[in-house]
Every structure is written in structure tokens, then in C-alpha cells.
């Protein structure tokens, strides 16, 4: 195995500056400030021009338990939270106990003076430094809660950060709490900063080159950016039910959607959430729900109704470790099968998966566009890792957003009118009017005279079109009346039970998938297209795969990587050549059975090399790198 241990160790002369990135972990009792220290430090670093990517774990219990916040810094783009630690900041004994073994051989242990007393691990080349965080806060500062800011000041000094932008940040951050609080926090920061400057001469060894300070940089979590993507996607209504780790999407939007005239409603359960989504969408609104595995499991019947009645719906599933209640705060990519297959009978649906934090924004927009364009349920598969990870990224360029409207019923359009052209599909060739068939006993009986006497009865809600999409009328529209139903129906939305109709309607509904696949968002691509060794992956495993690829390339391995962002329908036009041209393809996933590999095998007859981890933690790039190395020249 080629593990991260083979990473060159730092020599005396080598400063951290020369490293691509450094990884700092803070560990301590949950609720004791680990998280607030980590978050502030990440912000501070971002302001100072660093690229930042964070990772955190928290216990499933409400209070107490061990908690970890990890910040990775670099002047270049980051893709994972990193592997071995460069610096460990222990807030208590457990902070040392739980993470010291993960510290690099040449790493630096920092600890709150007096809080760690039992240094029972072999020290090796690791260094240690006691920091009087609590002492300074209690003493000179006279503000015990300021400990976290003192700690941040210390770290900032260690990395030689520029103080100017940080001071501005502290002002912005605390201003609404009053000038006093700003001053106190600035003082805390300064005390920490000065302490390191004065008492740690080797600090220059830890300097890391910052990037340019970027005006358009934001630091944000996957769930936050995904929520913003929903706003960008035109969402006005969210109906949901709290569940870890999806709740904060609902909570975030509860504050924002009313601003655009919408609403967030907390339903009594997930079935109700989805029912409300379909009700709202039926009235023409862009509506969504956000949940995690157990909630999605409950929505399965409603998913089928969405597919059958052809009502757009967006379902965000932030995957956590299953099955059942499982490990609610842990990582897994275990819901792909359910997203693609759940439901009795067959209906079209679309499954998308963002590959990183920034991607959450764009995939959320896609989700609404696909739902509206094809009148289907769209499941957006995020996961715990993406949801809680914060990252410094460029502000998304809002001018790049394209909203694709629902195809609406226009009784005045002529039969062959071309509806709005848009990027997603071929034009629809029918306006949705037609002639009622005679009664034939295979469906509800129709009063033909009454029907004939009314123009609007001729509206074909489920007109059979080339791309499977039928123009939809919205309550309030005269002449557009129809009854939406999960019963099989004919074009006129009347229940029908004959073989020809069901076959035709099944075909019509599934034709939507052809257009959807053709319009799949661009996949994540990296590496050498000519390489005969390839990786296919999806979701948050993409960053890990990319990091492994970079490392492999450094070691001279030719490697190619693709991560589709549309999972279902399979975007074959993106994958055909890739799969055909490789000698070996590795598919790493964070689940037991290789769900994506299995899905691809329903279409491709290739023997993939599967790499599956399923312990509740993200995949490690070192593990993937080792697997890659197994297949080099083999």
C-alpha cells in the first residue's frame, strides 16, 4: 500500500510555506467552543487570502461527547479535508487521546496549557507546545469566553497571517453586538497573536503562503449553498420535516423564502411534506422538500404520484449513514439505489448529485429546471460530508443562471407551434387539445354530448408528445380544467385501463428520460483522456478521487477521471467513450455494495474495479491511491 506515510516529511529547513496545504484539527468536548473556534479560524484564514476547506464531526448526542473541527488551508484550490494532521490543537485530554496518532511524524501538537496532562503516545518527531489560551482569557483579558478568539489569534500568528483584513472581519462580525464586544474580541485576537510572536521563535517555519485576497470569495457550507441554489432555481415553497443532516436547509430557507413571497412550512411528517409539495407544484409554484434517508423512505408512494400525475417536485436527500436510524451524523453514499429504484411500478425520475460545495448551487438550479421541464420528481443527492463542510469559494456568477420554465397549456397555440426553445430538450409539437375518444368500456364512461358542448373539455393534460412532456394548465386558467390522478389515464386525464393506452402512456412518460439524459449537466472531468486507467465516481467522493489523481500524477501515473453529476438517467453520451476506452476503471464509493457501479452495469458490460468503504467516514484518498497503484501496469 502506498499510504500518505510516503508523503515526504518536512526537513529542518523546509517551511510549511512549501507545502501545498496544511491541516489543523481542533478537538475537545462538544459545546466547549471547538466549533466556534474552528469556524472563526476558517473565516479569518479566508479573509487573509487562504483557500479553506473544513470538516467536522459531532456526536449524535445533543450535548457532550467528543467533537472535532478540522480546517485545511492552502493558497490553491482544495478538494478534501486532507488526511494526516499537520497541527493538532487539543482543548482537553480527549482532544489529544483521540487524534494524536493521526498527527504527522513531523507535526505540531498545540494544547491549552494544563488541559492535557497525560502524553501517553510515543512522541517521535512530533513537537509539542503548550498555549496559555485559558490563562490569557481569564487573566489579562478577563473574559473567559474569549478563549476561542485568543486561540484564533495564536493560529493566525503561527501562519503569519495579515492582520488587517482580519480586524475588519472582527468588526463586521461583532458590530451588531456593540462596540465593546468588537473591542474585546480584537483584544483577544491580539493577545493571542502577540503571544506567539513573542514566545515562539520557530513560528516562521509554519508560515504558509496565502493567495491573493479575493473580493468575490465567500466561505460557506454545502447545505447553505444548496439552499441558495434553490432560491436561484426559482423555488418559492419548501415543505419539510426536520431531520439530521438536512434540517438546516429548511431552517435556512425559512428565513429567506418569505422575502420572495414564498413560505416554508413544517409538515407533520415526510409523507405530508411531499403531499404539500405536489399540491403547491400543481398550482404552478416551484416547490421542494429536503430530507435524509428515513424521510425519503417515507416519500416513496408520493414519488410515484409525482411521476404518474406528472407533477414537478424537487427532493433534496442529504444522505447519512443507514440503514434505518443508523448513524445520523455520519457519512454514506447509501441512498442511490433508493433514489433510482424506489417505487412500485415504473415512472421517470431524475437523480442529480453535486460533486463539491460549489456544485451544490448549480445542481440545485438544475434540479428545479429538470423538474419543471420534464414534469417529474428530481432527487438531489447530497450527503453529510458536503452538507457540513464549509469551503471558501468564488461567489457564483448569477448571470450564468438560466431558468427553464414549465411547458404551459396555451389553447391559442396552433397544433404545430414551437414552444419556447430552451437548452433542455426538443420542442413540443402539440398544444394539448384533441378529440375525445368514444366510450369503449375500458375507462370511466364519458357523457359525449356534454363533452362536445364544452371547449375546455378538449384539453389534453397528458397529450402524447415526442419528448413526453405535455403542456400543463394551472388552476385559475379557464378551459384548462382536468383532474390530476395517479390512476392510469388517457390524454384527457380520464381513467383508462386498456393495454394500448397503458403501453403508450408508459412509453410517453419514459421518453422524458431521453431528453433529460441528453441535457445532463457537464460531468466533473480531470486527468488524461488518453490514459487507459480511469476512475468513475460521484458525489462527495469526487474530491477524494481528484486528490488521489493529483497524487498519482505526481508519481507519474497516467490517469483519467469522470464524475457524472446526473446519476439517473445514466448520461451515456458522457460515459460511453470513457468506459469503452479504458483498460481498467475503478469506481470508489462510500457504500457497501457499489450502488453506482451496479447501476452502470445495468447498461455497461464492463467489469469495474470496485472500491467500497462503509464505516460512516468519508473515503480516504490514500486508500484510493493504493488501489490505483495496484492497477498500474497490471
Amino acid at each position: 500500500m502506498v499510504a500518505m506515510a510516503e508523503r515526504p516529511t518536512m526537513t529542518e529547513e523546509q517551511t510549511l510555506e512549501q507545502r501545498h496545504s496544511i491541516v489543523i484539527r481542533m478537538g475537545g468536548e462538544s459545546g466547549e467552543g471547538v466549533k466556534s473556534t474552528g469556524e472563526l479560524f476558517a473565516q479569518v484564514a479566508a479573509r487573509a487570502g487562504f483557500k479553506v476547506l473544513t470538516f467536522q464531526t459531532y456526536p449524535a448526542e445533543i450535548k457532550g461527547g467528543h467533537s472535532v473541527y478540522q480546517v485545511r488551508l492552502s493558497s490553491e484550490d482544495l478538494y478534501t479535508e486532507g488526511a494526516a494532521l499537520d497541527i493538532l490543537l487539543a482543548f482537553n485530554q480527549e482532544g489529544y487521546d483521540k487524534s494524536y496518532e493521526e498527527l504527522h511524524d513531523d507535526g505540531l501538537l498545540l494544547y491549552d496549557d494544563g488541559a492535557v496532562t497525560d502524553f501517553h503516545y510515543e512522541q517521535g518527531g512530533k513537537r509539542a507546545l503548550a498555549l496559555p489560551m485559558t490563562k490569557i482569557a481569564k487573566g489579562e483579558l478577563k473574559f473567559e469566553l474569549g478563549k476561542n478568539v485568543v486561540a484564533v489569534g495564536m493560529l493566525a500568528a503561527l501562519f503569519g497571517m495579515d492582520v488587517e483584513p482580519i480586524n475588519r472581519l472582527l468588526t463586521e462580525k461583532f458590530l451588531r453586538k456593540g462596540e465593546d464586544v468588537v473591542a474585546k474580541n480584537k483584544q483577544a485576537f491580539q493577545l493571542g497573536f502577540r503571544y506567539i510572536e513573542e514566545s515562539f521563535p520557530e513560528r516562521a517555519n509554519y508560515y504558509l503562503k496565502a493567495g491573493a485576497v479575493e473580493e468575490d470569495s465567500i466561505i460557506i457550507s454545502g447545505n447553505q449553498l444548496l439552499s441558495m441554489g434553490c432560491i436561484a432555481g426559482g423555488c418559492t415553497h419548501l415543505f419539510g420535516y426536520p431531520i439530521t443532516p438536512a434540517s438546516d436547509i429548511m431552517e435556512f430557507l425559512a428565513g429567506e423564502l418569505p422575502k420572495v413571497g414564498g413560505a416554508v412550512v413544517q409538515a407533520e411528517d415526510e409523507i405530508a411534506s411531499m403531499g404539500m409539495v405536489l399540491g403547491a407544484s400543481y398550482t404552478g409554484k416551484r416547490a421542494m422538500t429536503s430530507t435524509s434517508g428515513p424521510g425519503l423512505s417515507l416519500m416513496v408512494e408520493m414519488l410515484g404520484l409525482s411521476g404518474m400525475a406528472e407533477i414537478p417536485a424537487v427532493i433534496v436527500d442529504v444522505q447519512r449513514t443507514g440503514p434505518s436510524t443508523g448513524m445520523p451524523t455520519k457519512q454514506e453514499q447509501g441512498d442511490l439505489n433508493m433514489a433510482v429504484y424506489a417505487g412500485h411500478g415504473e415512472f421517470p425520475r431524475i437523480v442529480l448529485a453535486p460533486t463539491d460545495v460549489a456544485d451544490c448551487f448549480w445542481r440545485a438550479i438544475d434540479a428545479f429546471n429538470f423538474a419543471e421541464r420534464y414534469q417529474v420528481p428530481v432527487i438531489l443527492l447530497s450527503d453529510t460530508t458536503l452538507s457540513v463542510r464549509t469551503q471558501s469559494i468564488h461567489k457564483p456568477d448569477l448571470s450564468k443562471i438560466k431558468l427553464i420554465p414549465r411547458v404551459l397549456y396555451d389553447p391559442t397555440a396552433s397544433a404545430n407551434a414551437t414552444l419556447d426553445q430552451h437548452t433542455l430538450s426538443t420542442p413540443v409539437a402539440q398544444h394539448g387539445n384533441g378529440t375525445l375518444p368514444e366510450n369503449d368500456g375500458e375507462g370511466d364512461e364519458v357523457d359525449m354530448e356534454l363533452a362536445a358542448s364544452r371547449g375546455f373539455e378538449l384539453y389534453q393534460r397528458y397529450a402524447v408528445t415526442e419528448d413526453g412532456v405535455s403542456p400543463m394548465s394551472i388552476p385559475g386558467q379557464a378551459g384548462g380544467q382536468y383532474t390530476s390522478s395517479g390512476l392510469e389515464h388517457n390524454e384527457f386525464s380520464r381513467p383508462r385501463y386498456d393495454v394500448i393506452n397503458h403501453t403508450r402512456m408508459t412509453d410517453k412518460r419514459h421518453r422524458k428520460l431521453i431528453g433529460a439524459a441528453q441535457n445532463a449537466p457537464e460531468p466533473f472531468r480531470a486527468g488524461d483522456p488518453a490514459a487507459e486507467l480511469g476512475i468513475i465516481t460521484w458525489g462527495s467522493a469526487t474530491g477524494v478521487a481528484y486528490e488521489a489523481l493529483l497524487e498519482a500524477q505526481k508519481q507519474g501515473v497516467k490517469l483519467d477521471l469522470i464524475a457524472p453529476r446526473m446519476i439517473w438517467p445514466i448520461p451515456t453520451q458522457q460515459l460511453d467513450d470513457f468506459i469503452a476506452s479504458k483498460r481498467v476503471i475503478i469506481i470508489p464509493e462510500v457504500n457497501f455494495s457499489g450502488q453506482f457501479a451496479n447501476l452502470l452495469n445495468t447498461h455497461y458490460r464492463k467489469d469495474f474495479v470496485r472500491l467500497n468503504v462503509y464505516g460512516g467516514a468519508p473515503l480516504k484518498s490514500s486508500l484510493l491511491l493504493a488501489k490505483i497503484m495496484e492497477y498500474v501496469n497490471h
Binding site: E256, A267, E268, G275, M276, G279, L450, Q481
Partner: protein
Amino acid sequence: MDVLNNNTKSQVALLERTVDDYKSDTKPTWCPGCGDFGVLNAIYNALKAKGTDPKDIVAVSGIGCSSRLPFFVSSYGFHSVHGRAMPVSTGIRVANPDIQLIAFGGDGDGFAIGAGHFVHTARRNLNICYVIMDNNIYGLTKGQTSPTSDLGFVTKTTPKGSADAPLNPLMLALAMGATYVARGFSGKTKELADLILQGMEHPGFAVIDVFSPCPTFNKVNTFKYYRDEAIDLPEGYDKTDYIAALAAASKHDPYYLGVLYENRDKATFEDHVAATIPAERQTPEQVLNGLFKKFS
């Protein structure tokens, strides 16, 4: 009676509509003699009296014989899945509070699989008029015990008699905060039409439980049975007295017909939701730019 009430947007609001205007071209699929015909008739008449343009009405239901009703009305309709008429209705009303929403279903649909949603829709006081066609049986699945079937009632699933005490829909509605609670009978179509009209005009959650016999599968709770067992509320009954309403609702042998309770003073869910929307709307772009600032 304010015929134009919910109808301000309709261009044809001033036209006097006929019952036929509310009939769809789909013929009811019910068995001859089914109580649901009487309910449908009452609906047509109530709709005509209210006069809302069919395009501004949505009829929502779940699954069951009774839940087929939306197909027979010329309005918009949403025949959803079993037990979920209330969530679907909630989504529609929250997204578009201008819609006149009437919901339909059976005793199984509303009170077995749908009981949880009923509870929450009632406490939210959504502006929905919900008509339950209560036949004390599962009709569509051909005769099993329902939540309103009597203890000891013999059906296909309870050959030795049902072991569950029946659920009292009106008690449930009252206990959970429904603001209009009434009981009707398919054998009294005129009175029923009036109850439904009042329910549609009530600002809040209006529950109308209707005895609507299933002659095919329920040989006990027949038209005759309810003609004998259901009487009008006593003279001078005060429908604003909550505790009295509870007492009246808990009474059986005979049952009361009529409006047991009405409270027009409670705000609806839609009102509360509307109150959270700021006067100055923002565009999505404005919201996003505000957020970017916050996260920079």
C-alpha cells in the same frame, strides 16, 4: 349570502351559473343506490349557490369510491393517493390562497390512513371545506371494516366482528380545533347542500361528515338506519358553545345532524403564513446578493 365571495377574479362572476356548469362529462362510476350520488348532487347545488367559476375551484381527494368525486365536477381536480387529500390540499392553499378548495374522501381515506393529516390540518385551521362520505366501510376494496364501523361489525376482515371501537369524526375535528364542524346525511340532499355551502363560506377548516350509505357492502348502516338514527339538533342549540358541541358530537343513538360548531374568529393558517411575507418583496437575486455579503 355572498355569492361573489371568493370569486372576484373571475371574469364571468356576474353570470348566474347553473348546476350543469359544475358537472363534468365523466359519469359517476358508483353502484346504483350508492349514497355518494346524493352527496354529489348536494355539491352541485352548493357550488351553484356559491357561484364560483369552476376554473377557480380545486376539488381534492384521496382514493376510494367517494374519492372519485373530483372527476365528476367540472372544476380542477386532484385525485391523489389514499389518505393524503389533506397534505395535497394544504400545499395548494399555501401556494395559492385564492383557490376555493373543496376536499372529498371516505371514512377510511380520511380517518384510517389519513388520521394524522386530519389532526394537523384541523389544528392549522386551513381554509378548506372537507366533505367526508362516511359509509362505515371500505367500499372500493369491497367491504372491510372502517374506522367508523361499529364494534362487533362483521366484515371480510373481521368475520367475528370488529375489535376496534369506532372513531368519532366530529369529536376528532372538535378536539383538534376545526372551526366549522357539521354532520349531514346523503338522504337529505337539500340540507346537505346548505351545510356544504356554509362550509365553503366558512373562513377556516370546515369538516362535514356525511352519512352516505354503501348499499353494496354495508347492510347495517343503510339509508333506513340513518333515517331512524339521525335527528336534527335541538331548537336553540348554540353552535358557538365549544363544550356543548363536544357533548352534542359525543352523542349517538340518535346522532345529531346540522352545524355542531362554528367559530369564525380564529385566523387561518394562510393568514399566518401571509403575515410572514414582508411588504417589500425581493427578487431572488436581491436575496442572494444579501446572503453573499453575509458569507463573505
